[in-house]
Every structure is written in C-alpha cells, then in structure tokens.
Amino acid sequence: MAEIVIKTKNLDKSFGSGETEIHALRDVNLEIMRGDFAAIVGPSGSGKTTLLNILCGLDTVSSGEIQVSGRSLQSMSGSELAKFRREHIGLVFQAYNLIPVLTVLENIEYVMLLQNVPSAERKERVRKFLTEVGLEGKENRFPAELSGGQQQRVAIARAMVSHPDIILADEPTANLDSATGAQLLEMMRRFNEELNMTFVFSTHDPQIMERSKRMVTLTDGRIVSDELK
C-alpha cells in the first residue's frame, strides 16, 4: 500500500473577518501518496495557491488538520517550519524566485549548504542535476543572465537536488512558452518515474493536466473532483 505523504482533514482557510471574510478553502480533505504526480486545478481564486502554501507551511489554516510526512504542521514554530521545509519539501514558483546574488551552481546547492551536506557530495549532486536540466557550462552564470526557461530549470534543480519527500510547484510553466514548459514537465515526470519523487502542482496549464497521474479540481475552495488517470 502506498505511503501517504500529505494528509489534510476538514481544512478551512479564510481571510478577513465579518462581512469582508473570504473563505479560500472549505472542508478540504486530501491525501497525497508517495510517487503521486498530482495537479490541483481550478479557476483563478479557487484556492489552489492557498492550498499549496498551506501544504508547505508557508500559510496557516483557520481550522482543520494537516500532516506532511507524518508530522503536524500546525504545532511547529516558524523556525521549525523552516527546518521542516528545508528537509522535506522542495518548492518551485511561478516566478522562478532564484536568489539573484548567487550563481546557478550556488542557487542549486543553497539548500544542501543549509543542510550541511559535505562539499564533495554537494558538488556531485549539483553536477548531476546540471546535466539533467541541461545547464552544463552555465553553472557560474547569475540568474539575470539566463532566460526564463533556464531560470525555471535551475529552480526545479534546486527543489529536487536535496531529495525532498515532496515537490510543490505553483504554476511552474505559467511564464514559459509551451515548448519550454513541455520540456520541463517531461523532465519532472521522468524524475517522478525514476526516483519516485512526489509532485503536486497548482496549474491552469493543459499540458500539466494531460501529463498528471491525478487531478484534483477545486472550485470556490472546495474539492469538487479527485480523479486518478
């Protein structure tokens, strides 16, 4: 039986209060298994990004329970959450979000540096992922010297290189042309297949929906469908 890496129970999230209160998520119950390649889809404002932010502990819940890799995120302090993300979660953002003063190589090894991974192992893993994402020879470039697609490759490599339990990707292809998006998606799918990495996307992109193994649809903060493909 597959291991559950994310589990939410009766998750509610609202912003504001009184007449201005907005319910971003309502009674969300979700289980993500190890090795899932799941897309959370839905119209704008349906709560996809909010759900992803909650799953990685960047945002808090109003009520309900959430467990990631067997641990309850609600009981953790800010520094504990930072440590948890460092060790268990890889993040990919729509806007790439690379650290502008670090080179490609340094951006990829950043989380491993925080994890105190020995230098030799760090270099070895970075070299491997540079090859995987097709950026050999560009390791000493700064993010500003790269195209959008190249930056997102670096961001994906950074998220995966530390071997996290889950990769959470928020609209990873939204700023890319369809060919580059398809290429990156193919790469992630390959990592999912070969390394049994768990991927959860929030997306509007039909390419991701097409390639995902599972599709969770959110409407007005509620899960209206959860299909295995």
Binding site: N53, C56, L58, D59, G78, S79, A82, K83, F84, R85, R86, E87, I89, L91, N97, I99, P100, V101, L102, E106, Y110, V111, L113, L114, R158
Partner: protein, 407 residues
C-alpha cells in the same frame, strides 16, 4: 562562508548606495578621529605647556599649603627627602621653591610684587624658566652680583626699572621681623604683560631664605616625571615613600585644579560633538539598511520559504553592515592617519593667541596615537553593528508568505 558571500555580493549589488553609505561611515570615522586627535593633541599640548612652564608634574608642600598658601607653611628639605626624590625611578628632576610677596621700590616708584625663589640650576631642569628671560641674563649667569633678580615685564613697566638697577624690597620675615634688602635686576621675564611671569619676581633660593628669614626651609618641591600621564600614581607612590604626615604630595591635576576642571569640561563638550557625529552615522546606516531590507523583503521571504533559518538572515544583514563599516574604517584609516600626522606637525594657528588657564596658546595641534585611530574605528563599527540589529531582526522574523507577497 555562505553568509560572507551573500553579504559581500549584496554590497556589490547596489554599488552607488553601498558607496554612499560607506563614504558616510568613512567620513564620520575620519571626522571623529581628527576631532579626537585635535582634542588629545591640544590637551596634551596644554598640559605639557602648563607643566613645562610652571607647575611641573607633581608638587610637594607642607600639609594644607595648597588650600591656604602662607609664608609660615614651610618645611625643611632634608637630605633624606632629597635622596628619596633623586632615587625615584619616575622622577626625572626636582627643584625647591619659595613663594612670598613684597613691596618693591625704585626711586619714587613702588608696587607690590609676588616673589618666587628658585634653585636656578634645578629649576632649569624642571621647567622652561631659563627660556623665559627676554633680556639680560639668567640667574646662574649673574656672576658677582649680590641678590640678583629676574623682573617681570609688567612690574618693570610699573616701576620703570632697567637692567642693573637696584630695587628695595620690604616684606615680612618668617620669624616675625620686617624683611628688607637690596636686589639687582639682571634680567627681564615675560613676553607680554598678560604672561604669568610678567607679574612675578624671580630670585635665588639663598637670597629668599636670607630675606625672609626662612633658614633652610622652603614652600614647595616641584618634580618633573618621565611621563606626565603617571603623575597621579607617582604622587601616591611618593607620598608613601616620604612617609611624612606633614607633607602633601599632589599631581598637577590637583595643583592646577581650576585648569584641570576647565579642561575636563571642555573634553566633555567634545564628546558631545563626537556623539552627534556618531548619531548622524547611525541614522545614515539605519536608513541604508532599512532601504536594503525593504527592497529585499521578497528575497528574505523566499530564503525563509526555502528553509533558511531566521538566524542566518539576521546574521547576513549584520555581517553585511559590519563588512561595509569595517571596509570604510580601513580606507578611512589612511586618511585619518595622514591628516592627524599632518596636523600634529603643522598645527592650526590661533589668531589672536588664546589664554587658557593662565597659559597663552598660539596654535592647536593634533596627535597620532592608537587611541585616536582605533577608538573612533571601534565606535564606527559598533554603531553600524548596533543600528543594523533592528532591520536584521525585522527581516529574520518576517512571515515568509507575507514577505513574498510584498505586504
């Protein structure tokens, strides 16, 4: 290492802003250092001038003499005291003195004058007495003259005396008798009527002891030390060595209390100026760090989202500012050293000369010392360090999602 790398690259990221902030810190450091250099140099000069021209570094009197000087508060300078003073390692030279006053007459002119009796040879080793003679000769060179005196310029003008004139002195003897004698003017002292010397008459110790019926007794022993900064400790040490309850050994700070207090008040005023300079630096640093932190808010949110410990972010902001302030101070060291060195040699002329504590000063000079160079350096770096705390804490404690949203 990663912290250093991030801090260094962040500094290079906005070169003009870092340069502006660095220049402000460097400017403040150099200003602080020069201000301290002039302060130390001027006070050092003041102290040296005061102690060299008159007071020496340490003085010995009979108890209570300093509070209420009197002809009768005298003591005998025994061979034992002389030996103890000569043997003391910190004492470079010493000289005995007698003080009194007398009515002086020349033909139909008369005035009251302050008398100071000295051992001419010893006095020249302790103070610049010999150099005060503007015309005529110093007391040691008045060979064959009975009761030679050096007459202050102001007194000379009052009684219209000239070199070689004989003056009649009338005063009170220590034995209660009326003292009177004839004295010969061998030299004139004092450059202007406002000089302390211009209102005095200097005579030899033997003449004064005879004139005032003091026998072998004196009022004061003035000491010159190897290092004037050790005056207080040397005075305490000498008091113990002399082991005489009737004698009072005091450093120049006590002897010239009024001067010393005026100097201290002046120094405190300087510290206020220096504190204002540091406050301005602090504000510049604070504004720069706040702008940087505000601008990088999204980035700090990202770092926290990637799992960066808050303490790492705090440290990187602090390291960045400490790096910039250290670099500024390092470059500033060259300027502050050069400028302090230049002004320690050239000085700045005061026109017209200024009187301070009865001593006339014609220029102010700076001083180059470790204190002058390193105290402002430590202050500048410390101010940058402390001021960076608030923005550093603000960045480290940011809520990642809010920081990334730019709220």
């Amino acid at each position: 290492m990663l912290t250093l790398r991030l801090a260094f690259r962040n500094l290079l990221r906005h070169k003009s802003r870092s340069l502006l902030c660095g220049l402000s810190m460097m400017g403040a450091y150099v200003l602080f250092s020069i201000s301290l250099g002039f302060s130390d140099g001027s006070y050092g000069g003041l102290i040296r001038m005061l102690t060299d021209t008159h007071s020496g570094h340490v003085q010995i009197h009979q108890k209570d003499y300093l509070e209420a000087p009197s002809l009768f508060r005298n003591f005998k300078l025994t061979a034992e005291i002389k030996n103890q003073l000569t043997a003391h390692p910190e004492v470079l030279a010493w000289t005995p003195r007698i003080f009194s006053a007398a009515l002086i007459f020349r033909e139909n002119k008369s005035t009251i004058a302050r008398l100071m009796a000295i051992d001419p040879e010893r006095e020249a080793q302790v103070t610049t007495m010999r150099e005060k003679v503007q015309s005529g000769v110093y007391l040691t060179e008045a060979v064959g003259v009975t009761n030679p005196i050096l007459l202050g310029l102001q007194l000379q003008k009052l009684i219209q005396a000239k070199l070689g004139d004989e003056l009649i002195f009338i005063g009170q003897g220590a034995d209660g008798s009326i003292a009177n004698d004839l004295f010969t003017v061998v030299g004139i002292v004092g450059k202007s009527s406002t000089d302390a010397e211009a209102r005095r008459i200097y005579m030899t110790l033997e003449s004064a002891q005879e004139f005032l019926s003091l026998g072998e007794r004196i009022h004061e022993v003035t000491l010159r030390l190897q290092n004037y900064a050790k005056a207080r400790s040397a005075a305490v040490n000498l008091q113990e060595i002399l082991n005489n309850e009737q004698l009072d050994v005091q450093p120049w700070q006590v002897v010239e209390e009024q001067f010393y207090k005026a100097m201290q008040a002046d120094q405190q005023g300087n510290w206020i100026t220096q504190a204002v300079i540091m406050l301005i630096v602090g504000l510049v640093v604070l504004i720069t760090v706040l702008v940087n932190v505000f601008e990088r808010r999204h980035e700090y949110g990202l770092l926290l989202a990637l799992g960066t410990p808050p303490v790492f972010i705090f440290r990187s902001v602090i390291v960045e500012m400490t790096m910039l302030s250290s670099l500024s101070v390092f470059v500033g060291l060259f300027f502050s050293f050069s400028l302090n060195l230049y002004f320690s040699v050239e000085g700045i002329a005061i026109e017209p000369p200024m009187e301070y504590g009865g001593v006339l000063f014609s220029d102010i000079i700076s001083e180059v010392s470790l204190f002058v160079l390193f105290v402002p350096a430590v202050f500048t770096i410390a101010v940058a360090f402390v001021v960076a705390f608030f923005p550093a804490a603000k960045s480290a404690l940011a809520v990642p999602i809010e920081a990334m949203r730019g709220n």
